[in-house]
Symmetry: C2
Subunit: 164 residues, 2 copies
Amino acid sequence: MTEDIVRRLGYMTLGTRLKRIGERLQAQTQTLISERESPEAGSVNSPVLAALWRNGPLSIGELTQAIGQSQPGITRMVGKLKARGLAEIGPDPVDRRISKVSLTEAGKDLVRRLEEGAWQTVEAAVTDACEGLSGSLLDQLGQLEDRLAARPLPKRVRVRVKAR
Amino acid sequence: MTEDIVRRLGYMTLGTRLKRIGERLQAQTQTLISERESPEAGSVNSPVLAALWRNGPLSIGELTQAIGQSQPGITRMVGKLKARGLAEIGPDPVDRRISKVSLTEAGKDLVRRLEEGAWQTVEAAVTDACEGLSGSLLDQLGQLEDRLAARPLPKRVRVRVKAR
DNA sequence: GACTTTAATATAACAAGTTATATAACTTCA
DNA sequence: TGAAGTTATATAACTTGTTATATTAAAGTC
């Protein structure tokens, strides 16, 4: 078994390491969401959906700030949401340079379902995986990687009794 | 200024968040390396170069383990290193399914320069950015993001007096 | 020793991010 | 008020990651 050099090199490869853990988390989250909701509710789109849900219609530029990603990336994501019938795009009536993005009824329905179900599940599973991590950033990342390898997110879901 | 929803959502979007910070770190690291070494020594390739440097020739499979990334990704990275004259690939004489990857002389020279220069600089800059982070994982990530925004890695390089 | 299974790598197609640049609409100011 | 500058978004091209599958070599098995 060859040694994990990215972990070994520590701060020198922190960027690579963070991306690596992030991709694993996203992949596991995607599995989790797909199991309980339509796969179109991808883990990658969730922040965009959540931003529109919480703030109402936003321009591409506002979404760029809300998500913290490059503008062309946001433009493409929004295009996909539109293609799936979850969002609408139209020019701002006052300043026609601005593209205003809003959720369709289907999009709002989806978010409602996600809020009640998959999103809560994801948050609980990730919280579980991160519970009690301690020490420096590198320490905590190491612990988190070990935990995700030992028990990935889908195995960290507890069946909840729905209040009635 | 629209609120940073990825930060706000906390554990639910931890994957997205880790990827985001990782990409920023890699981009800043790339700037740093390009400034003091040939741009072919990209931040993404560094782990592969380091693994080969420390362990000697490795198979694609061993590199996959060392880097913790998918096999096709490693195959492509290695292909690029080969195209740049930094690595060689050849079949293992005993088991001809195995592709053994090794550094060329040019590759070894590059690593020697990186070890003396750019890699140390990167490690020092990232260490500086992470110094004294405290609290939970989310806390530390928040602090790190703030610091990288306020003073990115290239501004965290201290000029060192070379011992002679 | 041919036949099947397993293992290692390569290839293809896709996903999601980036930078650089083009386009179109608004603003400024002489 | 029209030329020049600025801003918002779209588009193009690239990078780096992924999964699924094809290919080839080795290992078992009867």
